[in-house]
Symmetry: C2
Subunit: 202 residues, 2 copies
């Protein structure tokens, strides 16, 4: 029996629906014996490449969006507090994630959860390298090496390349989840993903 | 005991997710002893008023959208065939709906289902007044009176006013469903609506 291809999970740390998906995707995959490959990207870069505008920045949509973020979180039983500063730059945590991922995949996963929760339930400023460093240390990273690693051309290129590859693969929003080649956009597609995994496609 | 306020269901006849919601909303409401007030609007008018762009017309999103329309229909067990011409003007069926609604609410409801199904499963041109007339006759309307009625200032004003009122009420897309003042955007919010109805809000 061949090992199934991992589920791909593209996300941006400032995307509320990415946060909601991040709290569910691993457990969901695990129920079907699947792994998840996490991939932070910069949605700002995606929008710029495509010439599109974030949903939440479309005229008239901000108020509804904030209501829906919080309601969807309650619906999924995930703690949520709308950050005062929203959206924020996620260059720092995304670079940190790729550096951590080179050291230790599991540590990168724990770090991602810390970043999402720090931003969406504790209101921390995840754009700030000092905050990113603190969260990385909390999951066991070497904070000094991390900050140095985040500044290397290799890590900067990696984040840029991953974002460009995502656009080339058809990603236009986040979370973007790919199951055996089938793309799903949005935390609200988790029930469809579950059916896809249980039936092999429908 | 006071009668509960009807659920408001704003839709556009060329909106795939409106079609999906139209196949589910009455039965869902009925399980909680609720009625649904259907309100066709012109999404084109909403986008123009807000200066926004339809999701499906955003760069890079058309292919995913078509995949998601059909997949979401299968997920909800609703027949679906992507219309060759999409989107189309829905001025004719929406005006017809308001004229029919003045004569007979139940007939207007049957007509709405005929229009949605004619477009999204039989590939009919619902922008064509002759098709609209045929579908109205099928549900028992006087076809000649209908076509005359669609041209009256009263009916033209009604559709314009309903679209403007929708924008004023915060509508920026369709389907847009309001349950006791709480707005829900999209057929994918049906599970949240169900929980809202069963719990009285969450």
């Amino acid at each position: 029996m061949t090992t199934p291809v991992p589920i791909l999970f593209y996300f941006d740390f400032t995307s509320p629906y990415s946060y909601l998906a991040s709290e569910k995707i691993d457990a969901l995959a695990e129920r079907f014996g699947r792994k998840v490959q996490w991939r932070p990207i910069l949605l700002g870069g995606v929008f710029k490449a495509l010439g599109t505008v974030s949903l939440v920045k479309q005229p008239g949509q901000a108020a509804y969006s904030e209501k829906d973020f919080a309601r969807s979180a309650r619906f999924l039983d995930v703690p949520y507090a709308q950050p005062a500063e929203f959206p924020v730059s996620t260059v720092a945590p995304a670079r940190a994630w790729y550096w951590l991922h080179q050291q230790d995949c599991a540590m990168a996963r724990r770090f991602a959860h810390e970043v999402f929760r720090a931003y969406f339930s504790a209101g921390r400023d995840i754009a700030d390298t000092a905050v990113v460093q603190e969260l990385a240390i909390k999951v066991g990273a070497d904070g000094t090496a991390l900050v140095a690693g985040m500044q290397t051309p290799e890590i900067k290129d990696r984040l840029r390349t991953e974002t460009e590859s995502a656009v080339a693969a058809g990603v236009f929003g986040a979370p973007w989840i790919v199951v055996d080649g089938e793309p799903f956009w949005g935390a609200d597609r988790l029930p469809q993903i579950e059916r896809w995994l249980s039936t092999g496609g429908f």
